[in-house]
């Protein structure tokens, strides 16, 4: 199928450059940040860079291959995101922190732990607990609904 309109190589180059930039930035983020969620976002960014490149090439060649592949990738990425976030949540519940270096116990046995030098990395701050979660203003009257037994107040 011939391309519906001209899509010259110069134009493709822009897409490729943005794709590569997204990819590189994502990788940089993944390597530099310790926060699990931020790292996960960086990975997503790399994925988007790849997807953009695919779409650009698909347009350049005038076929659907790139777009079809992108849609597939997005679908998979959605599933993967669900799983990854669930995992992140579990990890967080274990350590009460999102710092990935806390998981370096999973190294080969017998190797020394890598300690942070003071001043080299930002200090680990405890994420505020549920008691310090912000209280939002109630938006209207709470509707009547049956409470579950464990939600019934004792007093």
């Amino acid at each position: 199928m011939p391309p519906p309109d001209a899509f010259p190589f110069d134009q493709l180059q822009n897409y490729l450059m943005i794709g590569a930039a997204l990819m590189a930035l994502g990788m940089l983020g993944f390597l530099a940040r310790r926060n699990l969620i931020v790292m996960f976002l960086s990975v997503e960014m790399m994925l988007q860079g790849t997807a953009l490149t695919l779409v650009g090439f698909g347009r350049y060649h005038g076929n659907w291959t790139g777009q079809v592949l992108t849609i597939v990738i997005l679908t998979v990425a959605a599933c993967e995101a669900a799983i990854a976030l669930a995992l992140v949540l579990t990890l967080f519940k274990q350590k009460e922190s999102l710092d990935v270096t806390l998981w370096q116990d999973l190294r080969e046995p017998g190797l020394p732990a890598i300690e942070d030098q003071p001043g080299e990395a930002e200090p680990i701050e405890a994420v505020p607990g549920p008691e310090s979660y912000p209280h939002l203003t109630p938006s209207g009257i709470e509707p009547a609904h049956p409470r579950r037994p464990w939600e019934v107040r004792r007093d």
């Binding site: 993944f30 370096q104 080969e108």
Partner: protein
Amino acid sequence: MIDYAWLVPILPLLGSLGAALSARKARQNAHIPVIIGTAGAFIFSLFLLFNVGQGTGRTIVYPWIEVAGLSVPVELRVDGLTTMMLSMVTFVSTLVAVYAAGYMHGDPGYPRFFACIGLFVFSMSGLVLSSNFLLTYVFWEGVGTCSFLLVGFWYAKPAAAAAAKKAFMVNRVGDFGFAIAMFWMWSVFGHTLSYDDILNPTALTSVPESTKLGIALLLFWAATAKSAQLPLYVWLPDAMEGPTPVSALIHAATMVTAGVYLIARTSLLIQDAPMAQLVIASIGCVTALLAALIAVTHNDLKRVMAYSTISQLGYMFMALGAGIGSATQLALVAAMFHLFTHAFFKALLFLASGSVMHAMGGVIDMRRFRGLRHRMPITCWTFAAGGLALAGFPLTAGFFSKDEILAALRSATHAAHEIGQPSWAAIYWVIFSLAVFTAFLTAFYTGRAFFMTFFGPEKLPSPDDPEAEPEEAAALAHASDPHTPGHDHGGHDDHHLGHESPRIMLIPMIVLAVCALVAGLIFGPTHWFEHHLARTPGFSSLGHPEHGHGVDLTSMALGTVAALLGIGLSWRLYAAPSSAPSRLARTLQPLYRLSMAKFFVDEIYNVLVITPIRMFAKFCSLFDIYFVDGFLVRGTAWIPRIVGREVLAPFQNGLIQFYAAVTALGVAALLLVLLLT
């Protein structure tokens, strides 16, 4: 008729299968299919015997190997030599199978025994029927395997297992010679192994004499192992660990003649290499003398017979080796005739020894029993018939065949001049005189065995006999246990020691005794045997004198005198208990010791062959353990381990970003390579 020659090997094979597959309840009848099979084979070989024509009857049963340029059919050949061997083998096998039905009665391995016997008859008849060297080789191996199976029949007994192993190993040495000879013939005779293509005068003239000499010596090498000649005879005395019918059938009458048959079959080739004939005659002579000297002192009845077998086989090779120049035909007939008669009387002697052993509760040491002639009259007189034939007493079977051998040796001394080797005449004279001396020794030890066993005051083995070895005494004390493997008796407690054997065992002995007495008289002076053998193609091409040979009275007289002297001396020394034998042993102490120690042949083998091979095996074992296993295998496995521990493990530091960085660097390196190339 000839087209159905395959029936001869197949019938015993079917019998063997029948015995092997016999149901649990029919175990005690496992002998029936084998006896029917071998008897059928015998009857059929008699048909062949009387229908063999002047030429070769050949029949292709099955095209076995058909590859480009190589065609080996399963081709059977019916001629004088074959039918003679075939009838002899099947006849003796049938009788031995009947005897074994009584002898092995009650043995837990009864069906196995008969299956092996049937298989053996199949292999042996295949060996003599086959019409090319490859097929002969296959059956040659087959009889070797059956021998292994049957020597080691009581495999739980260490001595029997060791003897079986020894027999097999020694035979492998000979098979090696056969294989090399076959390869050589294959390349020299224009890529064929058929007897017709190799053993015909036209093909033979095109081959240089040195090649023929080499092939002849290699074939003889093969024969020395199978037929127990000098360097390789050591397995046969040990093979007596097998049940006695096996000794009678395989290690006396039939299988050990395979080597003689091979040399006789290829005599057309070997007569062109007179040097090989001289070697064959010399080895045969030395073997005959050595084995006879060993046999005169030994006390184990079966072992005496085993050495006697070796000695008689040496006689046959002496005869074959006398086949130079114009003596060839005479020599071949003499050797085959001795093979033929020897089969009868040696099988008989073994069966009689087995009968004695059966009656004595497994004891075979001649010092432990005496004067059995009243208790076992039939065994005694059949043994006497066999012994007379073996000793060469006039008009018995052995007399005629031994006389022919001596005559052949004497004519070889004349033939040596004909072929322009006058110095060989002296060698043949020495061989001839040693042969006469061996005949004397043969008569002496046969008489000794007979008189020691059956004459003198009666004495039965008892556990408290001072001559009894401790284990034998124990075996005797427990003789009532019928199923002890390794004790050659059928479960009779010692109250019944010294009874005559059952009729099923006696009848084959009587038949064989009649054969031993009259076979020589029937076939010898009438020349029937010679005329039958002349129906073998190529026989007329063998060297023969211008005019027919008469009866050689000188050698006949010498042989008779030697036999009578031997028998007389043994009668004098052993018929009644006296101190003469022990005095004689003291006088000839060094010789006696040497003979008692079997000339230290086993010890020499131990030093020269077994120890070096064991050392080499030890070296190989150490090489395997330390170099192959230790260095190569474990070394290879050690490399990834050490690399993983020392180099790769630090990378697994648990920091996810570190992994990601390594991955990214790897991808970058790959990209770089892609871009730069």
